[in-house]
Symmetry: C2
Subunit: 338 residues, 2 copies
């Protein structure tokens, strides 16, 4: 391993001077700088971030909080996967590297962050088995951004879920539906999305005074089995339903399964709208919302870099989801709400 001392010795300059030349800092004569740079190249010098971090406290490391526990999708998530990919691109282009934070060996996310001297943290999907606590990050004023859940004191870049819910209801209303159910993913304090989407949905229905509580059904988890069960409960209670809006596509897949087993045709007998636009959704022809992953990641990385630069950032930024029209919604003729 070649160090700045090797370059210092080879050129006759001191280590600090070599350091300045390498970093383009201080006032050096052009000649000196060039000599040092040439020698560095000749010797195949490679900087050592570890040593630099020890003195500067800057690691150029961004911690990623991503825990699959309870989700069981690995990195194949319709929102998380593209957000992580794009965020990584942007953050690496700015000279930072991504490292996964964990909670092994009695460490908390925060102690792990300190252990690694990270410069910032992105919360994509925290573990849900034990409540994640981010207060330490906030107290320490570590640059931080969240891309899926709203946490007080953490700049959150997230889909305009309420608007999505409203648009879903409006879309169904426009297609002539009046009896519209809502199947919700768990409301667990981790993801705020199910409640937000429901709020928008409810607001739209209340506008026309057609909302009532028996339209709402809650799932125990985010998987399709859970969606099938919930829809079963819902349809038994409300046989008059012509449409259902589901928090996310996985649950909607469960509705498809239940429908298939029970001879309910989609969209002839039942219209469905989901959320997420998973890969399989295209194959099913499911009308659903696609979250603006590129926009979310771009803004999140910018918010991160801004905080690192000492700038203040807004507490929350909403990105509009896009309705992907396919063929799971039927138009009911002879009926017009608007």
């Amino acid at each position: 391993m070649i160090t700045i001392y090797d370059i210092a010795e080879a050129t006759g300059y001191s280590a600090p001077t070599v350091s300045r030349a390498l970093n383009g800092l201080g006032s050096l004569s052009e000649e000196t700088r060039q000599k040092i740079l040439d020698k560095a190249k000749e010797l195949g010098y490679e900087p050592n971030i570890t040593a630099r971090t020890l003195t500067t406290k800057k690691s150029y490391l961004i911690g990623v909080i991503y825990d699959d526990t309870g989700m069981n999708m690995g990195f194949s998530h319709p929102l998380f996967s593209p957000v992580l990919t794009r965020f990584r691109e942007k953050i690496e282009a700015a000279g930072y590297d991504l490292i996964f934070l964990s909670r092994h060996f009695n460490m908390t996310y925060f102690s792990h962050a300190n252990f690694r001297c990270i410069d910032g943290v992105i919360i994509i999907n925290p573990a849900t088995n034990t409540p994640a606590d981010f207060s330490d990050f906030i107290k320490a004023n570590l640059p931080r951004v969240s891309t899926n859940s709203v946490f007080d004191g953490i700049c959150t870049v997230i889909t305009a879920n309420e608007q999505g819910g409203y648009e879903a209801a409006e879309y169904l209303l426009k297609h002539g539906h009046k009896k519209i159910g809502y199947i919700s993913a768990p409301v667990d304090g981790i993801s705020t999305a199910p409640a937000e989407r429901f709020n928008g949905f409810r607001t739209a229905l209340e506008k026309y005074h057609i909302f009532d509580d028996s339209l709402y059904e809650l799932c125990s988890d985010w998987g399709k089995e859970s969606g099938a069960e919930a829809f079963g409960r819902l349809i038994k209670r409300r046989k008059d339903l012509t449409a259902v809006f589901v928090t996310n596509d996985q649950l909607a897949f469960g509705v498809y399964e239940y429908a298939k087993k029970n001879g309910i045709r989609i969209p002839e007998d039942l219209s469905v709208i989901g959320f997420d636009d998973e890969i399989a959704s295209e194959y099913l022809g499911l009308t659903t919302f696609r979250q603006s992953t590129t926009e979310i990641a771009d803004i999140a990385s910018q918010m991160m870099l801004d905080q690192i630069d000492g700038k203040s950032v807004p507490p929350i930024i909403r990105c509009r989801p896009e309705l992907i029209e396919r063929k799971s919604v039927k138009t009911i003729k002879g009926f017009r709400l608007f």
Copy 2:
């Protein structure tokens, strides 16, 4: 930030003694150790890996080579996603953290690895735009493992692709097919899978003297459009085909699309076998192979830890893929090869 010097001062011992107590090294009296440990806890001491790495050259960092360029799936890949998830679990349980390696700022993967003082590297999916060169890793004898492509000098844990190809052909033969096409993903020197699967396939057909070159069709990339085009070329040339084995499910999806557009029914008119078992495959009823991602990741992490421990590891380990029977293969009656 609390350092060992703070603990030393608070307890009256020296820094080296504190270090020994904290790390459980050297011969310390139980009393000393306990006093130091108690004080460390009381002060809220957290170790700093940066300083330790500088002296020990051990970072407890494993570099991940994962580049989406040209693949365009982000982290949502049927093989890579679960392998990365499981590998991460295992490696973190052993006290290591995962960091992504990139090639930004004129860095090579290797110089980035040195920059970060990583202890090992896992190659999941290297960038394909510029040929990745791993010779430096090998020369430096850095612990290394590859989970998708075979590189000389790098311990590779990979699916028994040839066996998969053989089994696919055998399965189709057993179901009465004799005219079986093969649609291959690009043979580009990065992924060895397409060629390996083809080899197995070819071996099986040659055994019964029914292989000929016009059964083979090569795709320009791994996407479904490419698969549709390739199948178009193939079926025009060989109208007698009753089945086709496709390197991977994405390409097989293209076959489905082409078939749908051209009134070819699956499996009535055409039997199809894919590889990967993507999520959408289940919805299509595609018979395909599932790679043993858990096994691959478990072995890969073990190989990594073994190398870190100075043990030697085998150059290559093959994991058997599992055939997932669904309904894309028809049995041709009245014909028996075996």
